[in-house]
Symmetry: C2
Subunit: 216 residues, 2 copies
């Protein structure tokens, strides 16, 4: 079903989780079939945008029938790699790190938090759910011995690059970065940033200019 | 200096905080002037993209001189509304809400957390820094009496729309939503979402397809 993804724009890729979320809600409601027009109404993209997006991955829709919700949900999950299981560690066991460790939905989606790391002696040895907080000195050894795929950086800006360097040295595959800085990582390491201040400042812009944002 | 913003795309707006962050780092290093080519090297956008983006807001650059870093930094801050002060409340005082309450950089940028709200009796009455956690029953009254501009929703998915409805009734101006759901809000309320799972699933896509993402 799936075509090569090399030409698919990041904008399309970033819309896929949203499609998946809406499809999940439809499944929860027992809806098994939907037209791009109906999907457009609930998701807020135009029907032609939806058809275009989903055509990137092969023909899920059938003229006059619409989309099979379950099949599309599952296929988008596969495209997103959610049929895989990823071992993760969280570096920085403050409030944000703990929030992520406590958020079991990520685990349900296949992102298994194996350990947390911190430099604060008062945190080392504690557990969040059943996830132990370890000494940050042991990050590299732990990654190598436990097949860790993803490092989630929840440290402050000042420590983030040092942590990233340790992750890179240990052959991590991906980094999910919450520190408010841009990390230098080699091209073969996948990096995704959550820059909360950029989101907040966008809201500030919208408030100042009293402007509704279009869906992207 | 500033032209009308009505035609500026959300993509450009979302790049502005990144420009501002890099300009801040240049200022910290004592760099007062930069060409779009040099800026391109450090920020990763093309020089022509940078010129195009910044031309939206009037002519900051001068041929053969480059950009005045301090002036550009300040002007982007103004465009983003960071010369304003916003009163905020955080609804949901779990780890994520506490992480945001503890993150003083938002306060430095003018987003003042006035109170937190929760339904958990064990949290009500506690303080994070000097921010009191109050009973969620009092949200509407509190907003009206304290000129609250922004409600930050850190509840679970199930409570998020109810909270949003209360905020809307109390004439909040903007909502920063961390709950993993899309809220229904009227057009005059500015809404910005942080959907963490969408970011994580994008990383998953990149890992599965071993694909570097382009800057956007």
């Amino acid at each position: 079903m799936q075509k090569s993804n090399t030409k698919i724009s990041m904008a399309v890729i970033r819309r896929l989780p949203k499609y998946r979320r809406y499809l999940e809600e439809l499944l929860d409601k027992g809806i098994n079939r939907i037209s791009s027009r109906e999907l457009s109404k609930i998701i807020g993209f135009t029907a032609s945008q939806i058809r275009q997006d989903l055509n990137n991955f092969g023909g899920f829709g059938q003229q006059g029938y619409g989309y099979n919700v379950a099949a599309l949900y599952e296929e988008i999950g596969k495209i997103l790699g959610l049929d895989n299981v990823y071992n993760t560690i969280i570096i920085g066991a403050g409030n944000l790190g703990q929030a992520i460790a406590n958020y079991t939905n990520f685990e349900k989606a296949g992102f298994i938090p194996k350990a947390m790391f911190d430099i604060n002696p008062r945190l080392i040895g504690l557990k969040i759910r059943d996830i132990e907080i370890m000494d940050a000195d042991n990050i590299e050894e732990y990654i190598k011995e436990n097949n860790i795929d993803i490092g989630i950086i929840c440290t402050d800006k000042e420590h983030a690059q040092d942590v990233a360097d340790k992750l890179i040295k240990s052959n991590i595959k991906g980094i999910w970065n919450f520190a408010p800085t841009d990390l230098n990582v080699p091209e073969h390491i996948m990096l995704e940033n959550v820059h909360l201040s950029e989101s907040l400042y966008t809201l500030s812009f919208l408030l100042k200019h009293n402007r509704e944002q279009e869906d992207v």
